[in-house]
Subunit: 340 residues, 2 copies
């Protein structure tokens, strides 16, 4: 088969890779019908995470099950499936508590590389969720978004205790941040303040439910948020960037007793214990346990209550994957959908 | 009146101080019947927090109301009262959310110095809770503990999501840690693992409900906790020290999706964002909003359901305050009760 391989910063190639096969009896083999480029793929692409050898890329996927191992019980060939970026058994105590991204037997899909024609998915019964039927084509981008960015934004909103009537701030206007806006709207937030200085992303944030836009960053951004929240900060703040500046902005924008949900993969962040102590906020986040939310998210998409697929503003054949990365790197695209 | 004043590290004196008076119409003036030395008083006493000028000490107190300002409505002269270490109006949005320690009009009692014969308590109606009657003498230590250490341990347990059936780890065997054990027992924890290498404190931890004692610290302590929790860590971990080692021990002892409640005042702690991200825990803490818990805690003490006053293993007249500090500094005493 063919798929995307990162050789060095800014050098992603579409090339021949070994065909995956069933290895474990709990595996499923799927034909990838859509995949995409993640904001987190840009960290190695930009060389901020080292690339030490040619690395298959991608961890988001939807597709058709072609074959299953002999111990797979619920997933069947022919089904259309959505999975998360961590394979999980969905039965261990950590999964049962809703943290499938930390399953005791988790396996990262990123190590297998979903930006390809075929994908072996470990722990298929625990990882994959099948739709009730083959979806119509217009639902595909939204279902694909559930594989990571929608589920991640949703987790950020849940971690930030978004509830009806609450004021929410979303830091980060990438796909995850924009979908955290959508999640907050779905979870009943009264006011949703999106931080963005990019007109097209501001527009999408408003479509997804943002009531206010703030263009300032860092401590200036914090001041603006305070102005909109009676001087005391927001109940819920979702951090979807992962830098020192954005994390401190999140903490400082939250009222005492409020909640920060952080889903931006953390890079070179150091939190000062004393500031955190006296901030007196709740802090929760990490790699999103997308599997926890998948059945609900698929249901909302299937009923056309939400259109998270709007974050894909560039669609390319998989063979043009290099351009897909470039467009996101240069912020010409929010998110690139790739069709093998 | 006379009271305790810290002049320099290890130099605390009992000396004449100005008599407090009603300044604001919302003040109450109380005759302090018992006060005590806090673990946090040891930070400046040891010179870890700078002492730049003679500083009145103390923030824990119970006493009899002698006089109230003209706007005080519910607190009356003659009542026995317990208050927290932050004066709070108990009506602002932050107080209403249960974070009276971050009240928009908060005033630290520590700045007034409760290790004295008299104390002016600002925002009396919001700060003080009166008992139904004058308590019998045996209840005084327990009621005094509610002013800070019991309330702080309780907040740690609540922040760590202690619930019936859960496994709890308590890091720190000072008064707050020991009372976090008691709080966890009262909140229904099934298993309570106390970290302590001090036989007398281990004994008290067991009296308060600890089911297991671990003497190792740091990463060795983490390993022992993992051994007791099927290799995955505890659901709830209460951090009651405030150092880098104890904070990291807390985070590493918690299972993914679990909760760290931190109430040890943070000193020189830096948290690595990436480790925190992949730990995927809940983190909450800070200066305990003791006022939130006071009515419930006083009720449990009044009914003799709990005896948190056992943490006082040294009782001295206030004039011997210097010995009270020394005994705690040298870990000869867990906590010193002082009677003016």
């Amino acid at each position: 088969m063919r798929g995307a391989v990162l050789y060095a910063p800014h050098d992603v190639r579409f090339e021949e890779r070994p065909d995956p096969t069933i290895i474990e009896p709990t595996d499923a083999l799927i034909r990838v019908t859509s995949t995409c480029v993640c904001g987190s793929d840009l960290w190695p692409y930009r060389g901020i995470e080292p690339v030490t050898k040619p690395t298959p890329m991608g961890h988001e996927y939807v597709g058709i099950v072609e074959e299953v191992g002999r111990e797979v019980r619920t997933i069947k060939p022919g089904q259309f499936v959505v999975g998360s970026f961590f394979a999980s058994d969905n039965t261990c105590p950590i999964c049962q508590a809703g943290y499938q991204s930390r399953c005791l037997h988790k396996q990262p899909i990123g190590a297998l590389g979903s930006q390809a024609q075929w994908l072996r998915v470990p722990l298929a019964d625990g990882t994959l969720v099948a739709t009730s039927d083959i979806p119509s084509d217009d639902l595909i981008p939204s279902l694909l978004s559930a594989s990571d960015v929608l589920g991640t934004g949703w987790f950020g909103a849940v971690a930030a205790d978004v509830e009806p009537g609450k004021t929410v701030v979303v830091i980060g206007d990438g796909a995850v941040g924009l979908l955290a806006v959508l999640a907050s709207q779905q979870l009943g937030a009264e006011r949703i303040i999106a931080m963005s200085r990019h007109p097209q992303r501001q527009q999408l944030a408003r479509e997804f439910g943002a009531t206010d836009i703030i263009t300032e960053r860092g401590d200036e951004g914090v001041e603006k948020i305070k102005e909109l929240t009676d001087g005391i900060g927001a109940h819920s703040v979702i951090e979807a960037v992962g830098t020192q500046e954005s994390m401190m902005q999140a903490i400082r924008s939250t009222r005492p007793g409020g909640y920060v949900g952080y889903v931006g993969v953390s890079h070179d962040v150091k939190l000062d214990g004393q500031e955190l102590f006296f901030a007196e906020i709740h802090l929760h986040g990490g790699p999103a346990p997308v599997r926890r939310f998948l059945p609900d998210l698929i249901d909302r998409i299937w009923k056309r209550q939400i259109q998270p697929g709007k974050v894909f503003d560039l669609e390319l054949p998989l063979e043009q994957v290099a351009e897909g990365y470039r467009a996101m790197d240069e912020r010409r695209a929010i998110k690139t959908l790739l069709r093998p």
